[in-house]
Point group: C2
Chain length 208, copies 2
Amino acid sequence: MSTLSNSRNIFWQECPVGKHERQKLLNQKGCVVWITGLSGSGKSTLACSLSRELYSRGKLSYVLDGDNLRHGLNRDLGFKPEDRTENIRRVGEVGKLFAEAGLICIASLISPYRKDRDACRTMLSDPNFIEVFMNMPLELCEERDAKGLYKLARAGKIKGFTGIDDPYEPPVNCEIEIQQTGGFCPTPGAMAGQVVSYLENKGFLQYQ
Amino acid sequence: MSTLSNSRNIFWQECPVGKHERQKLLNQKGCVVWITGLSGSGKSTLACSLSRELYSRGKLSYVLDGDNLRHGLNRDLGFKPEDRTENIRRVGEVGKLFAEAGLICIASLISPYRKDRDACRTMLSDPNFIEVFMNMPLELCEERDAKGLYKLARAGKIKGFTGIDDPYEPPVNCEIEIQQTGGFCPTPGAMAGQVVSYLENKGFLQYQ
């Protein structure tokens, strides 16, 4: 019997085909690559490039894009602090399911608060949560402003915009940091390569 | 720009690796097999048996079990009607993501209300939502009572229990119906076989 307050009489159902079998079928290890950073820092670009690179190696990944999920699973949530926390909790839970299913799940969300990201890390067993910090200067993100959101935020037309009037808390112990070198941004392929190397070294791209 | 009330300034992110590529990699078509029926009707048994049978054919499936999800993604939800609806909506949304990822997603939930199931059907494009109705007599389910829940419900210790003091609305146009023949319940293998045949005939077990 469950002891959870909202989950009376809920039993845990085990299945004979488990994570092990699915990982064997896919010849990879399930995990969550969690990409965090400011709007315009290149999260989606990395997510796409990474999924392409993994696909070229015959590996199955799936991108959970924060913006896309707000049209579906998280459509009932807004941008109040508690809604942001719930938004990230749900993405973490879904990421966990995808990792359980054996996929390399690529979550791409601003996820500005450290405690929310750490809660997702705790959900998964630690080595299966790979935090990638897009460490790009605010000025660069604002200059790109592909979605025109910084402009709106500066004009006061969007309130609580991360980096402008809401804080971004950089990770303390992330697994991977993407940053400029010599004033240049890495190419999408180079960023993906950095993550793929990590996954390869840690044994996620095969399964014995 | 989005027109959703809660989703201001949310853009849709497209990725070059899409459903097509993932289905090609897996040589199958993503879909949701939605198993509905009373507690004790054999939903979890079918889900496990089906995932085993698909695995033996080299197909990737993942079971979304209603009870298990109440420990994670849906841990904030109770059993009030609006919570049940939200519970099923979220499972539908997650099932949709898994189908998008190319998996055969097996959702196993009592899901007693027709409108909630139909909302999930609408989320997916129709042929990718396969409703399986465990059409077992209440007496049989109550006799099995593997979890001891009917006893508690009859004793009034659980309120709003489906089949006792809360309605189960059987599907009107389900794709597959599992029932007794000549007073005998089909074996787990026979039930799984019925679903696998359907999937095979509809072309879900390969991808050209």
